[in-house]
Amino acid sequence: MLAALFKFRGGVKPASHKDESTRAPIARAPLPARLVVPLRQSAGGTPLPLVAAGQKVLKGERIGAPEGNFSAAIHAPTSGTVLAVESRTLPHPSGLSAPCVVIAPDGEERWIERTPVNYAAESPDALRDLLRDSGIVGLGGATFPSHLKLKPGAAGRIGTLIVNGAECEPWITCDDLLMRERAEGIVRGIAILRHIASADRVLIGIEDNKPQAIAAMRAATAQATGVEVVPVPTRYPAGGEKQLIRVLTGIEIPYGRIGPEFGVQCFNVGTAWSAHRAVELGEPLVSRIVTLTGNVERPGNFEVPIGTPIDDLLALVAPRADTDRFIMGGPMMGFTLPRTDLPVTKATNCILAASPALFPPTGPEMPCIRCGACTRACPAELQPHELYWFSRAKNFGKAQEYNIFDCIECGCCAYVCPSNIRLVDYYRFAKTSMRALEREKTASDAARQRFEFRNFRTEREQKEKAERLAAKTAAARQAIAGGEKPAAAPTPAATEQTPALPQLDETKKALIAAAIERARAQKEGVQPKNTDNLAPEKLAEIREIEARRAKVREIAKTPPEEPV
């Protein structure tokens, strides 16, 4: 036993409601008529489809290739025929759509060729690649690719591996039953993860309201050295990654930092079990345990092929008539499903049928009276009421200064708020607004840079133009002086810009005068004169007139004797 556990501040103790779904062992969900397998099921990029409509696939066949290293592969959950690769709605709070592979199962469950690997003989790098190609992601809900979490680097070595079996959300029991029934496999998976990370010790944290899971895991780890099963006090959110790390090691990981920087890394028990299947049995991640509970007749846990429509699962547990909505995840952090014809993904740990009786609507929102209940409940040790005022006032700078991004959106504050303020909604609003502002700022920075470059370019072009003009002028001056034709193009070598510039006015005048002269000469040369072909007496008259005009011109040219 560990000498002492550390405590995390805050937290709440809602009724656990775990018994409902733990009475029966994990059952296998039947194969549905159609599987809709989203290609994007982990943090990172969207894997590229490897199959096309009409293609036959085997169970475990790769159908989505990880894009780069920053996502995990996607596999066919059963054997069958690909019907389509198309965009479908995902189980997501805002009803996002993304590419999915639709498969019609043939019911034969024919596996690809499975090659077990002896992990002890493999290098960590090879094993990480294997995890990526087997589609192993965090099954606690965040679905972060596991191979990335095991990556060593500048961050440092993972000395302590934390295994998360806390399962602190009310109602959810998929990890509990997995530990009760498949502790052996979990422990083998932990050994693989430990091997890859070359961790010195493993701490398995389980909330003390799961005595059977604790006993099973203790039995499975009895022979292992450096592995300890640690019951942790039942208090939501003890299973939050940061809270569990804090409870087991005393280390606090702030926002924006990762475990390896502090020598720890955390994996869910389900992830460990999947790693064991992937490495030691050669079976990629094609199913997961889902808790179906809440306002249903036969709550329980099911092993569900990824891509199974939630409707098909609900038929297994028979939701009661007064069910008004379904929540994916638990009641503290889960979201209301926009529809139920959506597929189960690697993130689907629980489908919770809600009714007004089970989750009564909260009363009308009252003003905050600064009672501090939220502050006492906040596991991130924030001042939720201050963040509320700042978010409400769109004072995002202040919200950030008060560490709003350290909020893990666990819901404790809103759970205890006597004024029924939906605090987490305010924080989500502030965070998304800030992220949008950040994007806008990045975009406007880019626009400003483009604008500044454009100005710079225009200036440069103008300057070059002026230089060219000056050079041309200098050449023209030389031409005028030398009696040459001014049309000769100046060569850069001949340019003498500096002395030419101050004399621009003068040279301009000369140029203009020369141009006028040219134009006159041209005009005279081209236009027929009305004085051609005239009678002699007319010519004499014209000559007389011309003489008078010439005289007048002479007079006009002479400056007046006295200034006017």
Binding site: F8, R9, V12, P14, P93, P170, R246, E252, I253, P254, D324, R325, G329, P331, M332, M333, G334, F335, T336, P356, F359, P360, P361, T362, G363, P364, M366, P367, C368, I369, R370, C371, G372, A373, T375, R376, P379, A380, E381, L382, Q383, H385, E386, E401, Y402, N403, D406, E409, G411, C412, A414, Y415, V416, P418, S419, N420, R422, V424, D425, R428
Partner: protein, 342 residues
Amino acid sequence: MNGTSPHLHLPISVRLIMLKVLAALVPGIAVYVWFFGAAILVQIALASAAALAGEAAMLKLRGKPVGLFLSDGSALVTAWLIALTFPPIAPWWLTVTATLFAIVVAKHLYGGLGQNPFNPAMVAFCVSIIAFPALMSQWPAVGFTDFAAQMRVVFQSQSAQDAVTMATPLDALRTQLHVPEARATVAGVLGSHASFGNIGGKGWEWIALAYLLGGLWLLQQRVITWHVPVAFLATLALIAGGFSLANPDRYAGPVFHVVTGGAMLGAFFILTDPVSGATTPRGKLIFAAGVALLAWIIRSFGAYPDGMAFGVLLMNLCVPLIDMGTQPPVFGHKDEQKGGTP
């Protein structure tokens, strides 16, 4: 129905909190009636009626849901605290006017529930003691418990006479110690004064203990935290104790200060007002210690019989600054250097 998490909520409300505060005042009120007659109940009724009327009118004017806010209980808490801090034989119109001022001006003109920077009950007290110092110093003499006679004073068919009124121990001590020729000592004044009981004012000491009981229940119910009452009472006792040790003839002792005047009511029911008080743990300690210091100074050297109300209002002013300066470190940021924010 809201689809966002959390989908669970504790069965708790502003109304429940306010009702608990009112319930915690009941033992004190009961002892009050025991020692000083039923006039206080009439004052509570007057203040409650005025508070509810003022609240309803202001909610209507401000276009807020009247029923929802009227039933939150916050106006009643203000009303009861006003009644309990005013003399029980104060004229009815003073109680009503002061309560209306608290609700209309100190609460709603600042934005209503949750928005008032000053404790409304203490605003009412300060306004009244400045405007009507004589009426606010007219406390019933010990033994003046005849309800009919009390009512004649409250409704002013009979003016209060020396026979029925008496200075409180705090007042007596202050006025007599302020006269240098009298060469009065604390022990001398209190020993000769009819209103002095075992450790504080006669009757008042028991009321204070009943408030303490109610306050401890609020602590147990987690309506309030320990910070404010402990910091307030400890600071008051420490200052009073220090000065009393140095000069016992001139300064009253810690026990006297703690059980006299508005100290105990203030410690658990007035300073703990979350809206106008500090919210951080360290902030609460500073806030409460500040009130204690100011109250003791005003009691010992000021012109008013008690300094609680002024102390509270002055510290209310400092709350934004206190809160800003006492933000506790956040999870994962405890090693970061404090001070300058980027």
